[in-house]
Symmetry: C2
Subunit: 413 residues, 2 copies
Amino acid sequence: MDIESANQTAVTRLMEARPFLKGVAKALDVIPGMRPNLLLHAGPPITWDRMSGPLRGAILGALLFEGLAQDEAGARALVERGEVQFEPCHEHAAVGPMAGVTSASMQVFVVENVTHGNRSFSNLNEGYGKVLRYGAYSEDVLKRLRWMNEVLGPAIGAALAGTNGLDLRALIAEALHMGDEGHNRNKATSLILLKQLAPLLARTLRDSAALADCLQFMGDNALFALNPVMAACKAMLDAMHGIEGCTLVSTMARNGTDFGIRVSGLPGQWFTAPAEIPVGLFFSGFSQADANPDIGDSAITETAGIGGFAMAGAPAIVTFVGGTPKDALNATLEMYEITAAESKNFTMPALDFRGSPTGIDIRKVVELGITPRINTGIAHKNAGVGQVGAGLVRPPLALFEQAVLAYAEKYEL
Amino acid sequence: MDIESANQTAVTRLMEARPFLKGVAKALDVIPGMRPNLLLHAGPPITWDRMSGPLRGAILGALLFEGLAQDEAGARALVERGEVQFEPCHEHAAVGPMAGVTSASMQVFVVENVTHGNRSFSNLNEGYGKVLRYGAYSEDVLKRLRWMNEVLGPAIGAALAGTNGLDLRALIAEALHMGDEGHNRNKATSLILLKQLAPLLARTLRDSAALADCLQFMGDNALFALNPVMAACKAMLDAMHGIEGCTLVSTMARNGTDFGIRVSGLPGQWFTAPAEIPVGLFFSGFSQADANPDIGDSAITETAGIGGFAMAGAPAIVTFVGGTPKDALNATLEMYEITAAESKNFTMPALDFRGSPTGIDIRKVVELGITPRINTGIAHKNAGVGQVGAGLVRPPLALFEQAVLAYAEKYEL
């Protein structure tokens, strides 16, 4: 088994992948295996009885949004009668931040890796505070989701329809030179996306009030680009998944209860362990005691070599996740220890334009005892509340130990 | 003479100034002292016979734009008959990048310092390459200027009409956390400005094609925000000009032949010396031999404590002006040596959110022999060509020596 060669193949595929934002469409129409009674969620597989508060809240909200239930009690009953199925976004070429709940009617971004041809999907970002992805499902949350589904999503879809799509890899690369790290800080990314979409929208959306609302909503949400960025990372990483003998991580994801990883050379397997509780800065009125365990598919950014791995180029993020600019720099430097390559696409001016650490090697993680760094939002542990802060977290080392053992077993090392 | 107290008063006024972008209007209608046969230009006062190529080119272009001449020969004849008057932008509460030529019909940004009530003005930014401000005046240059004057300017003016204006100080502060330094790198600033204007434009400009053109033009020009940023710096600095006993610089500006400075405690006087030739990176096909001496009012940004003074927070700028991220860091550190204060508004994450060096003290410059650092665009030395690169430059030390002597004389030290 030539591991180095397998890993090199994986890294090359990852870096040659060119994800383009191609459109927006209804999940049922585009996501492989999507069906009306299926809810996709973040992280590894999980059953209702083990779900944390924010994931349950998002599930209930999605059932109300779909009209499958008329109220919370009805939604719970539906779940408890076993009439709703749950599967990971990641098993449907999709990703979603935080709870990541994606239902059949939802409008989703369609991303295509034009190098290798695979597609990926992500729902639309709702903004801050009380939002479905953090487990909130009050009427105002659902109302916003309906507007996003009926106005915003179709408008962006129509705007993109006459184009070749937007080059998300180039967009991320540019934003990393503008103080973003691509996970918790997507200010520049969102503005560049807005800049690219605005004239397209003006040409296709003739309702001035709706157009103004769309431009305002996107402009007010500095995380708007997070979801297409996640889908871009997913498309890149799916292109390096399933390479025989490869020891690089192709997925890191959390469902609010378990942290799960997948490894390129071990397709079909999730390695899971209880998720940690992130440590960070909290919004006024909330504290560490309110924090849910780590949740969301957004660690796909770190898996692709941005997010916490590219913090050296995003010193201003410490105002959001805590720590000092020096800590941010050190986070990136540490990640070079456990990765196989330096990105050719994503560079950091502050490190003399060095490429970001890319391709997490399970062997290095276990050997050095250094786990990946992840920037993350923090959800309230109870359903219905929403986001309470942002901070830093790492996956349990046990995941990587399990993966190394499974690798040794499969490849008879 | 309590110099420290005078300088403290100046610095306080500079930092308390809050420039808002209030609107766009015709220069003749809003700029004090503007008249049909007057052309404003960058830098200190200068006569036609001493003007460099790019300033002459911009003058000829402005006369064609105004319809005062039908061709280049006619425009030259008009100037040579003494029928055109030239005065510095700076003496009319205005600033313009590079040649800075502003004529009576041009649409200009109107900025108001809402703390102290003074206003400032700047023309609209045309983008890159062959543009009037770099001395180009071909028909395509004039056509773009006409579109800016007939469509873009009035559209932005109408969009702002129903608002309280846009807080430019907050905008600059945010952009400095996004890799901009506010002079040569205004990518984030321009995107934030676009984000703020886009929904306002959508609500007021009902012609979809024109709206799309405006959004596209602003989005394609990463220097679009330079001009309102310069006007913001001008409004801040005018608020600290003319303070008895103050030794801080309130203006640095170049006309392509001379570099000129003004000092707060020495109102009514320009100190001038021959401008240096910037050293930097050149566009394909051009070299250092093509470079005109330093030109433009854009050094108002450095005078206000951003631009070259805030390069530590903008390491990616070295791809445009040359040098390394370490050089950019050192540029800022050096400027602390010759300034009176650290900005409360403009901070740099890379320096642990330290405020940028602010308030250039002529005494420190002369005592240490350290002149201010300026990022700048580089114009071709011949009229009609345009921008050929970008780089770094410093004012001659002689300016500050002259100013110290004049100060000693006025205040009998």
